[in-house]
Symmetry: C2
Subunit: 293 residues, 2 copies
DNA sequence: CCTTACTTATAAATATTTTTTATCAATTAT
DNA sequence: ATAATTGATAAAAAATATTTATAAGTAAGG
């Protein structure tokens, strides 16, 4: 049996029309009819309910169950092509979220250079959320990621490289009393990272938990810009300490009784990625960071 | 492209011989050659290293990576057939480990009868380990299971129905002092469940943890037999309290400072199983047990 | 070193499977 | 009622997979 039959079936279940599905694949309409028929014969079950003609078509219970499996199979099949084509190129496509990259890469730059990895890596710079998706889609081989939770996705394997904390930061020019409470910040302007980053979500949880409503005056996905603005005292911010190491002109505000989640810095890859020596070595270079710190 | 090519490829990787693989599938030898060739053309990569003829054949790096995906795809394809054939029969195949079944099923027997489930269930009686495997293979739809850990397998979903403790038990005829220590049991004969059950493993961990070496005189997979033997004072045993509810003639020994893992009683099924009303209802019947207790 | 046995590859023929073309029948919309 | 649309079917064509027959490479035994 042909994988195309699965593709036809899946699309049909979405489009709910034999002829449109046929058109989508640039095949004739009977092709779809016969494909479904083949599946129904193969499994000896009715899969598609052809309600009185132009009416919307639906899957039988068996059809729904089949669809579940078909989607998994096709997803896997797409991964194959993505994987093999990258192996052929002897390149490794790596996701790099800016904050983490700026923090980690300088630490291992020499190692990467020594082992001739600099030109083997195809960097993909984006937010952690987006990178996680692209990783699962097989579009990238591995990724650095920052998150407050460890991935529960069965398909992913990860190594925690570092655990950082979130901080509330302000310009060095400002003077705050020693024993700050959140309520003291009620009149402050906040500048935060936008929804591309996990920061936004953590910030929202934070707002809920402590039942405060800080004034957000600006959001950006560019953390360097954010730091610059804070430095210039355009507002205060909320960010992982990862972002502010080796940054001057900025102070961390100290609170008591302020609980914030941990920020896990990880390297993540798909389970079952056959780890060639290049891949293996790359991961070990990153793992060694943990030892250095 | 045909799923058969994947099957040929997988088998070839196991058998490491084109002609044997062909023989296995009852096809001619060139069939395998062409199948591999098709895959190699499709992915534009060499997959199989044909070492100087009669020598053992090996997969290239790309081949290994492909194999990973192929195995997933074929596993999924097998699930389809198993699933759909069971749906057709309107039957639900359910795994039942004896101890848990004897404990739970009386509690819900009337419900099962009222909703006419008694003849819809195909019972599969076996140990928890075996059942877990068969569940993943799609050979059974759902299963009761007992375990000291919650399933981490991504493919499985579960509901905890009850949490029990492990006990050390002896015949009521015996007299033990109140403040028992493990060392007091050094001369006792132990009768335990064999490796088909999780008990064996828990027992082994227990031995390691407390660094004792109890004398095991008999192992069985039949817990009723075990209880009978304990009752008759042929030895003492180690078992979850699940097994001894409503059993007379047996006492639990009390220790202080004895830490044993919890025994989770769960109902487990594959994630993505399309839950028809029958399935749904069945799970809810079992879930209601939790409320009753 | 030659021969035999065994293995995989290739070409051509054949068989099987998938798709198309042409057409029909059922239904909806006008 | 008629036209338009949708899915089903039969027969033909096209594409794909498999077989037969054979070649060619290698290892082992004499």
């Amino acid at each position: 049996m042909n994988l195309n039959d699965f593709r036809y079936f899946k699309k049909l279940s979405e489009m709910k029309s034999f002829s449109e599905t046929a058109h989508y694949f640039n095949v004739s309409q009977p092709t779809i009819t016969y494909a479904i028929k083949r599946l129904e014969t193969e499994y000896d079950t009715k899969l598609v309910e052809r309600k009185s003609y132009a009416n919307s078509l639906s899957l039988t219970f068996s059809g729904q169950q089949l669809l579940q499996h078909v989607e998994k199979i096709l997803r896997e099949d797409n991964l194959v092509k993505a994987d093999l084509s990258r192996i052929k190129q002897k390149k490794i496509k790596m996701g790099l979220p800016p904050i983490i990259t700026n923090y980690l890469v300088p630490q291992i730059f020499d190692d990467l250079k020594d082992f001739d990895y600099l030109n083997r890596l195809i960097p993909v710079v984006d937010g952690s959320k987006e990178l996680m998706e692209r990783l699962k889609d097989g579009d990238i081989d591995l990724s650095l990621l920052g998150s407050t939770t460890l991935p529960v996705d069965p398909e992913l394997e990860y190594k925690v490289l570092d655990i950082h904390a979130f901080k509330i930061i302000a310009s060095k020019d400002r003077n705050f009393k020693d024993d700050l409470k959140l309520s003291d910040l009620i009149n402050e302007d906040f500048i935060i990272l936008d929804e591309k980053s996990v920061h936004k979500q953590v910030f929202n949880n934070f707002i809920d938990k402590y039942n405060v409503s800080p004034k957000i005056i600006f959001q950006t996905s560019d953390y360097k810009l954010l730091l610059q603005l804070v430095k210039e005292n355009k507002g205060i911010s909320f960010i992982t300490e990862t972002a502010i190491s080796k940054t001057s002109g900025i102070q961390e505000l100290q609170f008591n009784n302020l609980e914030l989640p941990s920020f896990y810095i990880m390297i993540v890859y798909r389970r079952g990625t056959v780890k060639g020596s290049i891949f293996q070595k790359l991961i070990s270079i990153f793992e060694n960071i943990t030892l250095k710190n």
